[in-house]
Every structure is written in structure tokens, then in C-alpha cells.
């Protein structure tokens, strides 16, 4: 097992634990959630195959689900996120393509690139998450408020984590 895999495994546990023990309790105005584990899924290397990516997404989502008694809700949203991710990465390819072995982070591809990438994927993830949780499109406006507010909250925390911690661990 190489160093990168080990770091990914350790960050997995820290993200999930911080999510269920701390961020699940921090809710803004009853509507804004911070699902910081999405930040973990966003920063996987660009070359990662879509099938392993979806399996990782499923494992992360189901771990959060078990602790919050919402079995399947986070898992379905995370699998979709990981499925859509390569398509979005394709769309957002910068001039000259991506360098080999790169992880999408603000430190590697710049703040504005990362923001576009992160906000789109977080929005998709949260949209699916809250509508699956609501079990349909009744309560539409209430749920869409939750989606938008939570997207902003999650995004801010993800960016913050990137600038505070990730830079020191790996800068590639």
C-alpha cells in the first residue's frame, strides 16, 4: 500500500467522523446543512476509473447514512456525484489538458476553476439528497431552499478545509 492510499484511508475516517459527530449537528436556520464528506469525494485523482469512484462514493455515503439513520439517502446522492464527475471534468478541461496524476484542488487548478467544479457537483449531490429524503416533489419550495442554502454552506466549509489542511498533505 503506498503513501497516497494510506492518506486517503485516514482522511476517509476523519471526514466521516467529523461529518457525523460535528457537522450533522450544525444546521443553519434549520435548512443549511454542511455535508463536508462531499469534499473528500471531490478531490480524488482525475484518472480514477468511474467504477471504483462509484464504489468509493457508495461506501462513503452509506457510512454517513448508518450514523444518521437515513439509510441509502447519502449513498444514492454520492454514487450519482461520482458518476457525473468525469463528464464535468471533461467539460472543464483547461488549455492543454490535465497534468498526469492530478487531484482537483484549489491549490492545483486555482480557486475559480475549483469553485465552478465544486459548486456544480455539490448542487447535484444536494438536489438528489434532499429530494430523495423528501420522497418526491411535494414540499418543493421548502426543499429547494434547503438545497441552495446547504450548497453554499457545504461549499464554504469544503473550501475552508482545502486551504487549512489539504495543502500540507499533498500539493500535487
Amino acid at each position: 500500500m503506498n503513501r497516497d492510499t494510506l492518506i486517503k484511508i485516514i482522511t476517509f475516517f476523519s471526514y466521516v467522523l467529523f461529518q457525523v459527530l460535528l457537522f450533522n449537528k450544525m444546521v443553519l436556520w434549520g435548512k443549511g446543512f454542511a455535508f463536508i464528506y462531499v469534499g473528500y469525494l471531490l478531490t480524488f485523482p482525475i484518472e480514477l476509473g468511474v467504477i471504483p469512484a462509484m464504489l468509493i462514493g457508495f461506501a462513503t455515503g452509506i457510512s454517513v447514512d448508518i450514523f444518521s439513520n437515513t439509510l441509502g439517502v447519502h449513498a444514492s446522492a454520492s454514487v450519482l456525484l461520482m458518476y457525473v464527475r468525469p463528464y464535468l471534468l471533461n467539460l472543464l478541461t483547461p488549455h492543454g489538458g490535465y497534468p498526469l496524476g492530478l487531484s482537483p484542488r484549489p491549490s492545483t487548478l486555482g480557486f475559480s476553476w475549483f469553485s465552478t467544479y465544486a459548486i456544480i457537483l455539490i448542487f447535484i449531490h444536494h438536489f438528489v439528497l434532499f429530494f430523495v429524503e423528501a420522497g418526491g416533489f411535494h414540499l418543493f419550495f421548502f426543499t429547494i431552499q434547503k438545497v441552495v442554502l446547504s450548497t453554499l454552506f457545504t461549499f464554504s466549509v469544503v473550501i475552508l478545509i482545502q486551504y487549512l489542511f489539504a495543502r500540507k498533505i499533498d500539493t500535487r
Binding site: V20, L21, N24, K25, V27, G30, K31, F33, V50, I51, M54, L55, F58, G61, I62, D65, I66, F67, S68, N69, T70, L71, G72, V73, A75, S76, V79, L80, Y83, V132, E133, A134, G135, L139, F142
Partner: protein, 272 residues
Amino acid sequence: MRSFFLFLYKYRAFLVFILLEFFALFLVVQNSNYNRATFFNSSNTVVGSILEVSSNVRDFINLASTNKQLSEENARLREKLNVLNDELKKPGDVDTLSRFSFINAHIVNNSIFLLNNAITINAGKENGVMPEMGVIGGGGIVGKVKRVGKKYSTVVSFLDVDVKVSAQVRGKINLCTVQWDGKSHQFAKVLYVPRHYNLAIGDTVVTSGYNAIYPEGITIGTISKINLPQDATFYDAEVKLINDFTSLSEVEVIVNKDLPQLDSLTLTEKNE
């Protein structure tokens, strides 16, 4: 045949995606069904004990407010005790008092901002908790036990949009329904109150006792908002819940000793 396998290989990513999504959604549907038991939820011992460590830290910080809550509840109960003592002197049905016993439990995990909220408590099979038992605390109703593990159980919170509680308005209406609308953890809707009743702000809403889960007279809250449109058959009313679900920490699980008998009665009724 070969082209079929080529097809599978070509679309393998999409097929895995569909497979995983179906599995996840299957779990969602299965989890929202009350009667199924699944292994992976917070009544699992490992998950429960991790959550308990974190709840111990939070409880330490909240000690002051918990103390205040408990002493307030004590005062209310003492008041009630006086009333009950007087009633006991009259001949009446003492049976109802001895029908229920209580199991103390501590809240380990609690959500309030989802649409189907759940509570994890640190009492399980070992303590005599069984599925379908009612849970009260903080002077009002809390929820209903859903799944029971060895040491922990999960409770369907009253704050669940699929839960309806049979209720009455003290001194006025014998039967109505209270249901949470998923918006604020402080308020719920009072349904099916016909317009000829004289509902007023400040009226107390309590459980009706027309089910085997909650005893009669457990407080739900007080009426906080009334709206009666010209052409409506029923009131559009809101109740402010007595329980503050954000700071709830000690609860009691209600053991109804007549439950097996009641259940078999309803079963035979259904069969007939």
C-alpha cells in the same frame, strides 16, 4: 452472445451505476418501512457506542440547561401527584395507573432537521425495550420505538412527517390528529377539528389514549395559531410543542402491560 458481452463491457460503468443506485434506493424504501428490521442502523452496538461518546461530551456542556429542565418537570409532576392523590381517594379505576411502567433511557443521538427524524437511545433488549413502545420525556411525547438492538434502540421521532398522533384538546375536543409538517421543530399541525368547536389559542393538546402506544393525557403542546377560512370544514390550527427537541436528553420508554392482549384483540377484529 459475443456482442451481448461486448455490449455489457461497453456500458459497464453505466450498469454499475444503475445497480448501485437501485440498491441505495431500495435501502431508502426499506428503511422508511416501520416493520422491517435492518442490521445497519444506530441501534447497532458499535455505531451506538461511538455516538454515545459524542453525546457524553455534549451532555457535559448542556448540564446546566438539562438540570433546569428536569427540575421544571419535577415541579410539574409534583403538582400532578397532588391531583392524582386526591383522585385516588375517590373510588375509580386504579387499573389505568398500574397498566403502565417506564424504562429510563438517555438520548445518544437526535436529529431534528430532516423530514423523517430518528432518535437513538441507550436502552435496548437487555433493558426490556420492544418495538412499538411509546417514548415520552421532557413532559411531553417524544416518539415510538422502531428498532431494538442489544443495548441501543432507534426511535421514530414525533418530528417525522409520516407520523400521526391521535390527540384531544383538553376539556373541549375528544378526538383530533396531530401531525408534524416538516418545517419547524417547534410546531406541528392539528388536523380534523370540525368548525363547530370553539378552539382557542392557549388550549392544551394531549394524547387521546385511543391507541396502545401512549397513555391518555400526555401533553403534546398548546395551540399557538388558529385559522378558520369561511368555507373550510376543519380548523387550520398549529400547536406549539411542549418539548424542545433540540435539548432533550432524558426520556422514558412506556411499557404497556396490556399490549399483548390489545394486539391480539385488534388482530382477531381484523380477521373477522
